[in-house]
Subunit: 375 residues, 4 copies
């Protein structure tokens, strides 16, 4: 029953969609780390993604820091942040309370919590719990940026449409990443036309009371080589554990990922080459990771995001109280595609994992600046 | 620097390929759990996979228990097991010691350990470290089997050839799983003819001094609904973290996985149906997991395994000492495909993750049988 | 930087004395566990200990549950509780802000957090952080009580006065424990006359602008034998770690504790005897623990609580900004003795540690009641 | 069931007294850390303490590194060390196998492990498990020494005799600590005459078939201020958890410890004073820790060590198989006093806790020397 993750830096989530508030506790952020509340607010905006595509439900996510932040800097103690649940309409969910929604966790939550769970609006399983993740993520992204590490995510695939790929040229890649992170519109893509096709595909599905999924691709630049550990604390292990925590993610791959299955070794290996006094690779099919450890090339990961389970079409299901078959017809407000909003969640989770990896990778080191030590 | 994983049950790995010995420490196994050394030996045999396909290197992996097991039962204290490194030929690696092998961790280990690592034979990154994983896995697989949970893995894809799929009929599925686990031959497949095609593809690549990869698919039956936690301790998060710890795994997916990207919600959702007094789903695209928690349907996961990086073709690389370009021509004994041997490693890791999930899912419960309590 | 403790059940604290709110997140409480808010309120009352002895500062500690509790039962997900900081007077602390208060953490916090800490009122180091501990403790005490385990604490020593000891007769012990837990007055003692002497000693010190310390003794009955692990997760290790987390605790002992130093083995050992069909010991110098594991006899532990560092007498110190000597004269509201209020904190921490021990001791066990499992 | 402790650096113990081997796995030691096998051997010598006082049992503890050390330096991966159990005489224990030895863990182990435990020689509870602790401790002590941190322990009390105290003069203290660590004789004391009295007291008890206990006092110098965290990861919490893991420790105190119970605040507080450009305290009753964090003054801790439970006098007990009363008369080889040997164990555990505290205290910091990073 652990909603906590991390070794040196930990993140604990709490809250139910229709409970009093949701939030998170972040431990391990060093005293003096800047906490920019305006950047945090802009990240929350990206998550809210107010467009015609998203649901009409307005979620004014105002983040309140209860502890750990003073005058814009982390105090070094636990940072607790909460978001009150104010704009909910329980009525939307009442009519279907006993029916197990296909693709959702109603049934499994019942199996696990025996009826004690707060099931309204999906309860603890609601995508709403990604809000504190994004709030915390803002702090982690800033910590990385301060060290020259950049993170950006685009919708590599959505509704059957593929976006253009990230560039292999470092300068062009930087430009693409900056554009993604500055993007106002909800569809974070590299090619605007593909974005338009995606929009049409999403709307087409929505008009049929259906939903679509896709693939989110994240790239991280500026990492030094040497982060991560072989085996259980490998870069892939840590990041995958975090990425799979997102509701709706059913696949994670790095570099060529499942594409490796069709390659020969000679096609898969990345040759090492000297570049500007350092070591790089000629290609990057390994996505920046060798043996679970970063090699300094851009870190590339992708998640498979399934279509939103909540659709308006009639679905066969079972009544959890009686065990009898039933037909579910959802009402209320449901997103036909969560990718536009999920991309900033993925940025946040990746940032968290990388900050934790940086700390773990340090090993045991002495405090370099023993202030106030005495004779 | 943590080679330890798990919450209630933990597994700690140690060892370098050419060091004195490799091994593992397993904590959390309840007193009285049977430890069948013959089953353990047969699992080690599967890992050795002595066929014409594998390398000529014979690894007589004899497992020695240093603690925690007495008269065939776990004592309840830490179980330490070791495997001596006896059949190694350091000479095989000496000639190329300074060159970073593409696809391997030579460069990243140098970045991380600054030259202090034991690099012979891949050191701590060697696939050899999967030997103690398989030894420990035998204990975990037995614990699951005692509760009616079965695990089986086949080569879903290898060298461009696809195996037949697992059956959706429970009885046929059981038969397929039993056949896989009993299989003598190195290629664990459901369709013998496909197996033959795979063999030819592997040999074709080997004859060209190259290698191939593929996809391993694991199915688990008999799990109750309710295991796992939402978010960070979800079934996918835990199992993915373990699966990605295997050398060469670059992708993990559950159920339809990356296939979800092309589906509509109406095609992706699994309808709930009553079946034999319980609740099941009509389809199983979610691979047995909803909201990070098991729903009782077969758990289905797949890993993308990249082609063995060690190939005999000449490769461009860099000399780690001088930073200058160089050409690498490997000699020695290298596997053209690791999938035949990796499948039992995947079984073992999956078993470990599931045993740990069962424990975590228990929550806080009183010791049901307070023996020897006093007045 | 970890304010989290526990293995199966974890408790995370956050908050600064003069920040927005303080609170805690509790993970691992099983779904369906009752949460009695009236009992919780009475425990908070005991901590507030409104008597002439305590400070005039009124702390209306109203606990608010943000998540994890619904209709009086735990949902099985993370329980977050907060307590707003409403009745504070920052002015009390402003005048001495730069001076390191002897016995307090002003200097060490400056060394650790480099000035980024929220130092008002002691910040994160304030005894106020014991409020969420007591709130969480109420849940843990109830969980133990439901299984027949009782916890009680008295002021064994205070201001140089010793209380009567706990009885060795089980029935009398039960009566004493019930009386302690029902006690209205702030001084939880077994002998009312000794309590009066203590009161006079506290007031004598207070009238001189000074403070006193003492010893808190906790006894736990009803535990089964077999809880705890040898070495690092021994009963003493876990409970001591928790007891030492209380501000002002500088010593912890079990059973005869430091008294053992003067005993011979023949005087120290507890002989085993049969009693009512079970096994007990004739004496209990080992305080209910052998080899780090409970033996079923009453668990007995004591903490040494130092005198409140905040006294009104002038004290020599240093100005943290200038490094120059200075004289500190505290004003404001300070407790001459924290033992009356600390005893319920000790109950709470002991309860937390025992609940966690019970869970860890279970080992790996199958979920006994696989509800909703499917074919 | 966790024999593992630590956050950044972890130590896992395994082994039974009469099993194949005992050992430990240490994770988190940075690559390049020197591992001096001669110092390790001298520490093992201290633990063996071959004198007339100790038992005749000769334990040739030869430590073998299975992994993690190469050419005298840590590789950065897990360090596994083992010690074979070669010099045991199972016969010594056979006659009393069913009888619960008072003060020992026979009964509690039976309650916990239901008969599956390896009980010979005390099994996993044997003091023998301190051997790998001392081996690991040698590495930690060296790591601390490299940073100017010194650890030393003396027998503050033994058999009713008190040693001279540690000096408050820094130069004299350093001399005393060096003498303790260089001491050849088994009784690590500051005053040789007191040591002789102790020797006579131990022999007097031994001649009567009895045993004695005492108090071990450890002082640590050279620590910077700022280590440790408030509450659960306080210096006292971490070190106490480790010290209480030693067999026979029943009390831990810091600074004045239980002596605080009799002091007024004005007598207990340590005034801050400037000293040589830094901040120190005029007295050190708080033992170098304020609010759970080091303040730079010498860290002072004491453990209460109970008399060896194994005595030759007849003792009343119960037969674990029949539940009937019985009389126990031990034979074999038993130490009349474990303090001479335990002091190096206490050094080792303290060193381990401090190394872990140093790492945790670092917070999240970037890898200062990004070697091999690429463009």
């Amino acid at each position: 029953m652990r909603d906590t993750y991390g070794d040196a830096v930990t993140l604990t989530l709490f809250g139910e969609s229709h409970g009093a508030a949701i939030g998170a506790v972040i431990e391990g952020v060093a005293a003096g780390t800047p906490v920019r509340e305006d950047f945090l607010a802009s990240q929350m905006e990206k998550r809210a993604a107010r467009t015609k595509l998203s649901t009409a439900r307005r979620e004014p996510d105002k983040v309140r820091f209860l502890s750990g932040v003073k005058d814009g800097f982390a105090t070094g103690t636990a940072i607790a942040l909460t978001i009150e649940n104010t704009n909910t309409r329980s009525g939307d969910y009442a009519k279907t309370a006993n029916l197990a929604r296909p693709g959702h966790a109603d049934f499994t939550a019942q199996a696990k919590y025996r009826g004690f769970q707060d099931a309204r609006g999906g309860g603890h399983f609601s995508g709403r719990l990604t809000a504190p993740v994004v709030a915390a993520g803002a702090i982690f992204l800033d910590m990385l940026a301060a060290k020259g590490v950049c993170v950006a995510t685009h919708l590599a695939q959505c509704g059957g449409v593929s976006d253009a790929p990230f560039s292999e040229d470092p300068a062009e890649l930087r430009r693409q990443m900056a554009a993604l992170n500055a993007a106002e519109g909800p569809l974070a893509v590299l090619d605007a036309e593909r974005g338009e096709e995606m929009r049409r595909a999403i709307e087409a599905a929505a008009s049929e009371g259906d939903s679509v999924g896709g693939v989110l691709e994240t790239v991280v630049t500026g990492l030094p080589a040497g982060l991560g550990e072989p085996f259980f604390t490998s870069v892939e292990s840590k990041l995958a554990a975090l990425l799979f925590s997102m509701p709706a993610v059913k696949g994670v791959e790095f570099g060529a990922g499942f594409g490796f299955a069709s390659l020969r070794g000679s096609e898969a290996n990345d040759a090492f080459i000297p570049r500007a006094g350092r070591i790089a690779t000629a290609t990057n099919r390994n996505g920046g990771v060798n043996g679970g450890i970063t090699n300094g090339m851009p870190l590339v990961m992708r998640t498979a995001v399934k279509p939103t389970p909540s659709i308006y079409k009639a679905q066969n299901t079972v009544d959890l109280e009686t065990g009898e078959p039933a037909v579910l017809r959802l009402e209320g407000r449901h997103d036909p595609c969560i990718l536009p909003r999920a991309r900033v969640v993925q940025d946040s989770l990746a940032a968290f994992g990388l900050v934790d990896l940086c700390a773990v990778a340090l090993g045991v080191r002495w405090q370099e600046d023993p202030i106030w030590s005495t004779v």
